[in-house]
Assembly symmetry: C2
Homo-oligomer: 214 residues x 2
DNA sequence: CTAAGGTGGGTTGTATGCAAACTTCGTCAG
DNA sequence: CTGACGAAGTTTGCATACAACCCACCTTAG
């Protein structure tokens, strides 16, 4: 995933383009041309081209010469593969955290509490998603491996493309997620790797099922 | 890691720039300006700028506004973190391969044989490195997870930046690597995960030690 | 009717001009 | 001697012009 610093126009183009790809299901499977984006964003081709190149590096679009940027729809295979990698990383992280003996879960605890206190309503779904993302990211960060954290961040971007937000619209999903997060936290605090691993597997399996059944 | 397809000038700029960053230790810690590269490559700024953006996405350079592209020297921490992630991926892959019951090591076998038959000389070091890279990549590919394979490919690029080629100049290193690869292969064929994991850990530990002691 | 060939429209690829921003270095006051 | 200040030079950021290329459509010969 790209950092968000840098020049203004390119940054704007990158962020708007990313949000477009990630949040508009209608453009999946279509080609975006630079001309379209010039009209849509009111920027010149240069920053748009450069943003497209960054998006392509993130794996969010495919640049087809003389055709445009293809927004590849996510398929079940990619979802399964991504979830497999995510599980591998989270399980490995849990192992490292528990082996280190320190179990630094203060940040996760705080994020969990914030999520508990969040009222359940359509308006708060983005907040739920943000806290969810930060909850998991903080666990991986706790392992203290920046290379791993970067990879994990890139993976999370894919979740959005997979339509993760739709999985939160079900009325009981927030409660369920909180419960699953709680189990992960408690298992970590107890220092029990097998219980932690089971909780993580369960959480990811639930997410994957929801993503695949859309 | 970027794919190598696409337009000619940008592709040229990307590949030459990548090779420059990966093979010239003298430019580590320096800034490359677009003007330098225009003179060096004989291309206009546009393809060079776009190649720099791709390199930055690969994590090989840092783009500093109005300063240039900083070639960050690799440090011990990054080497250790990369090796940790590499080990996580290879161990997970081994587990998946063995769990699948198929153990498709034909490609690895072939690559191993080619490496055995390679004469040991300074001229063949690039071939050793290429076969080594393909040996490990084919193991990860055998897991059949494209998302994982992509991540692994990106990681391997870092190895080059870490100066992996220098680890092959020692007279007995090729023999040692062949021995370690042989142990991994045999363990995989025997279906013994613990033995496979031990062989992989040993191989990565040896590599890491050589990289750190440079 | 079919297939081959050409032509036009549209899209990206590359080069370049200009503006803005930053760095650097010299100068000067304290 | 040190630090602030300013001006010049350098570098990137953005815009735009033109070239190259691809594709789709139409025409035409068989």
């Amino acid at each position: 995933m790209q950092t968000s610093s840098g020049p203004a126009a390119r940054r704007t183009a990158y962020e708007r383009l990313r949000d477009l790809v990630l949040t508009d299901p209608a453009i999946q499977g279509t080609f975006l041309t630079e001309g379209d984006l010039v009209k849509r964003f009111g920027l010149s081709r240069t920053p748009i081209r450069e943003a497209l190149i960054m998006l392509a590096s993130d794996g969010l679009v495919d640049l087809i010469p003389h055709r445009g940027a293809y927004i590849r729809p996510s398929d079940d295979r990619e979802i399964r593969e991504t979830m497999e990698v995510r599980q591998m990383i989270e399980l490995d992280t849990a192992r490292q955290i528990l082996d280190s003996g320190e179990t630094p879960v203060a940040v996760m605890d705080d994020l969990y509490r914030q999520q508990v206190e969040l009222p359940v309503s359509p308006d708060t779904i983005p907040d739920f998603i943000s806290l969810d993302q930060r909850f998991h990211a903080s666990m991986v960060d706790a392992a203290g491996n920046r290379v791993l954290s970067d990879i994990y961040t890139r993976l999370r971007v894919k979740h959005v493309r997979f339509g993760i937000s739709a999985t939160w619209t079900s009325a009981d999903r927030p409660t369920q997620v909180l419960d699953e997060h709680s189990r992960i936290l408690e298992a970590l605090k107890s220092g029990d790797y097998d219980a932690t691993a089971a909780a993580i597997r369960e959480h990811i399996a639930q997410t994957q099922n929801l993503l695949l059944s859309r």
